[in-house]
Symmetry: C2
Subunit: 407 residues, 2 copies
């Protein structure tokens, strides 16, 4: 088996998918803010969503679809209004949005999913949905994936789309995806948990149950490993659609299924990494890797504490090789750690040895922390469990974006 990233790949790289991105008017800027994805034939599907108690109306509509609808034909996504904390009227708006799109496409409303991102607590202006659908349907195209990826951006500075071509046992199929999310990023996508929005398409044929299982497992190894600000959103949504157009059928526990899962993970990790790189105001990409912990839970607590530490994140911004803040975060993480055994590395350079200063000259450390991207490895030497997260720094620009932006 092998897979390759496709140049300029997107959700429409998979056969039988059309997409468009247009300006409906949700954003005051006039930038594109409404995307539509359509499968030419019924697509099996699965979803993982925010675990926030105040899950937005579109999230609740999608959760219902996952339970009751056999397949999807379309997904509509707007940026600029999250339709969260909008009560029953918001639910009605989300359902009606699906119905408006369904009518325009000549399909059934239960085959249309909806995702929203933007300001919380504002009722949807349904005239904008009407306009969005009216403009998006005629704009649908087999190479519209990248315009759709642009239309779902909020504080993102670059659109994020990718696709992989997979070959397994002589059979070929494609998986494409787009994602947005630069702030309110600390996804915990369980079956069904991330304001990231990610839409994945594949032309493989695979059952809803397989999709759900693989999507949830892969989310745990990708979107659930990233944090920009430690704030999970009301609207996080990851949907995958599989329309079978490649003619490749993926059976449970087959080598093709393993290949699909692996390629999908590579795609999801690629997008997760780019979300962190494009995190609000981010100037650094830092991988925090815990090794040789007593348990995976200990490793996870430790990695997440460092990845979410405001003091660490500001030190990263300041190019400060400040391992004291890393140690402090490990110490309050709740993880079982023997402080006298802990080693810490910046990339491959030792900074802490057995809980104390490793003696590396600060100059050498500075060379590492000045890089755009580096890894902090904490070796607890106390077991064999590991965990990693991807995080970004907190910069002046982060504060500016979030002091000014009305979510």
């Amino acid at each position: 088996m092998s897979f390759d990233f496709i140049e300029n790949g997107s959700i429409t790289s998979a056969a039988g998918f059309l997409a468009s991105g247009i300006t409906a008017g949700f954003k005051r800027s006039g930038a594109p803010d409404f995307a539509m994805v359509v499968s030419e034939s019924p697509a099996n599907f699965a979803g993982v969503f925010t675990s926030c108690t105040f899950a937005a109306a579109p999230v609740r509509v999608c959760q219902q679809l996952v339970k009751t609808s056999p397949y999807l034909r379309a997904v509509i996504i707007n940026s600029g209004n999250a339709n969260a904390c909008t009560g029953e009227p918001g639910m009605e708006s989300a359902r009606k949005s699906c119905a408006i799109a369904a009518k325009a496409l000549g399909i059934s409303p239960e085959n249309v999913a909806v995702a929203s991102t933007g300001r919380i607590g504002v009722q949807m202006d349904m005239s904008l949905i009407e306009r969005g659908v009216a403009l998006a349907v005629p704009a649908l195209s087999a190479d519209g994936g990248n315009t759709a990826a642009e239309a779902i951006m909020t504080t993102d500075t670059v659109p994020k789309a990718a696709a992989v071509k997979v070959e397994a046992g002589g059979k070929k199929f494609t998986v494409g995806a787009m994602t947005k999310g630069a702030g309110m990023i600390d996804p915990h996508l369980t079956t069904p948990h991330a304001t990231m929005i990610c839409i994945i398409t594949t032309d493989a044929e695979i059952s809803n149950a397989q999709l759900q299982h693989i999507l949830a497992a892969n989310a745990d190894e990708s979107f659930n490993r990233i944090t920009v600000d430690g704030d999970m959103s009301t609207n996080d949504t990851v949907l995958i659609l599989a329309n079978g157009n490649s003619g490749v059928k993926i059976m449970p526990d087959s080598p093709e299924e393993a290949a699909f899962k692996e390629a999908l993970l590579a795609l999801m990790q690629n997008l997760a990494r780019r979300m962190v790189m494009d995190g609000e105001g981010a100037t650094k990409f830092v991988e925090v890797r815990i090794k040789n912990a007593r348990s995976k839970q200990d490793a996870k607590l430790a990695a997440e504490a460092v990845g979410n530490s405001l003091l660490c994140k500001t030190a990263w911004f300041g190019n400060d090789p400040n391992w004291g803040r890393v140690v402090a975060a490990l110490g309050y993480s709740g993880a079982q750690i023997d402080p006298d055994k802990c080693d810490i590395y910046l990339d491959d350079i030792p900074v802490v040895k057995n809980g104390g200063d490793a003696g590396t000259p600060e100059k050498e450390l500075l060379d590492t922390v000045k890089k755009r991207e580096y890894t902090i490895t904490c070796d607890f030497k106390d077991g064999d469990a590991e965990y990693w997260v991807w995080s970004s720094d907190v910069s002046y620009e982060y504060v500016k974006i979030n002091a000014d932006y009305h979510t």
Copy 2:
């Protein structure tokens, strides 16, 4: 019973306590960085400390003293070096610091406590301790409390000292305190958990066991309720010394004990509030109050999630009445909340009613969020438990301080 704050009160407002603050040379700036507190007679004592796994050497020395030493005569505190993550040599330095002070004062080392704050991972320069003690002993004075409060500052912009005069059943005694801490503030002081350092003195007579019990309970209602950055320190230390010089003996479960506890809480809350007000780069003081939750644990999870949310804290800095971020934080807090019942107020102004927009014009909300100090109240209408925390905003100045400062 009654109590009053004393003008310019400090740790030396309690009878029989001497203090000094001098420049030993830990800080490159030449600002005062070494403080000494001495009780003229043996003082009962208690302490609560950081729960960080990597507790600093001086914390471990104090924890040992609480277990084994019957009384204290002195406390030395340096700022500029935390003596954390310094291994066995660091432990040796902490013990030796006590011995140096003891010798100069003609007392026993087990009657001297030590606290440190500053950079992590650097071995103590014992010549600075020698110099500090040599300068601090002759400078000891019965009105030296405020100079001591200055010497323990790190990124604090103002010294924080206070004292209360208590009258209970015709008996009068005094409780004084000083504290530092403007960053790495999210104390979880349990018997024995906050880089805040707080030294409390009283001239009442009260047992070590009573002190420990009262100190821990009051810490839960004061220092454990504050967060500046969500980062707990390796060095948090709160020590209370009671020398009995007022002649007032406080018996267990007596009205005097209740009066002592109440007055001490007022003092600790006064200092806790000022720590948040003086939080690194802070321009806002925000009380987050949860009402009518199902359980205190639910209320605590919810209050701490909002109080630590980076998105909320940047919105506060931006004078943004952004309740969406509050709701998002409540939603991911893990607290049991019925989203359709949740009401939120900015001071007394409703912003969320039953989980949706309360319809208050933004102009009215802006008047509140522009204030230096306000309260966000979340009423879950689902029980009778409550909890509150005090938090500050995250500003450009916060990032500047923490990108530049070497902890």
